[in-house]
């Protein structure tokens, strides 16, 4: 399973994003089950928060269409909800690669991935996930190549 990260979902919706094309291709492939993409409920909320926030994008999307898209994604791609074991996994992350401040949010994504058996994350910030045991990160281009989806 491959977790679609928030930034990939946001760029897939934003025609003006420099990586829109490859992000959209990954999200569409996940919807079409051409790659085993999953989302976390939290990632959908983060994407919604970003696209509706004019501090994060120049032209924010109105709440209703933004949520319609998150809902459509949730209907098409498996959604994984937080699991009790994620806290145990987070404790392991704290012991092996202690996060500080804002890094805790990425670290908890890793903990959730490990708890749910999600092996990799497709993200535009693959460096943020280097060095965590049991998970790998890859760019949308790399994901598309891995599944033979490069045009």
């Amino acid at each position: 399973m491959i977790l679609l990260d928030t930034n990939v979902i946001v760029a897939s919706l934003n025609l003006d994003a420099s990586r829109h094309r490859e992000c959209r291709a990954v999200v569409d492939a996940a919807i079409g089950r051409r790659l085993p993409g999953v989302v976390f409920a939290r990632v959908l909320l983060e994407a919604y928060a970003v696209v509706t926030d004019s501090r994060r994008v120049r032209k924010a999307v109105a709440p209703e269409p933004a949520w319609n898209d998150m809902e459509a994604l949730a209907h098409s791609v498996p959604v994984i909800y937080p699991q009790r074991n994620a806290l145990n996994e987070f404790a392991r992350v704290v012991r092996t690669r202690p996060p500080k401040g804002q890094d805790a949010f990425d670290a908890f994504i890793v903990a959730q991935m490990r708890a749910a058996g999600v092996g990799s994350i497709c993200t535009l910030d693959s460096q943020d996930f280097v060095g965590y045991e049991g998970v790998s990160s890859e760019t949308p281009d790399a994901t598309l190549q891995r599944f033979g989806l490069v045009p």
Binding site: E46, V57, F105
Partner: protein, 73 residues
């Protein structure tokens, strides 16, 4: 998990076709039904929107949560 489906008499031919496909492919009927359902859902999923949001201002995963920390001293 189990899914029980009512098959009306008039559509019994679908079940016969499923039996045949299962015999010919050597695959479980439930596996074939799930595959067909998965394909149907994927083909009928709504296309996501596309918006001109302009430049995305760099943000970190914790940023959307920052409002929750207001008032922490």
């Amino acid at each position: 998990m189990q899914l029980n489906i009512y098959i009306p008499k008039g559509r019994a031919d679908i079940l016969r076709a499923l039996d045949r496909a299962s015999r010919e492919t050597g695959r479980q009927k439930s596996d074939l039904v799930l595959e067909a359902l998965e394909r149907y859902l994927a083909e009928n999923s709504r296309e996501l929107g596309r918006y001109h949001m302009g430049e995305t201002i760099r943000w970190r995963r914790g940023d959307p949560h920052e409002g929750r920390l207001k008032g922490v001293k």
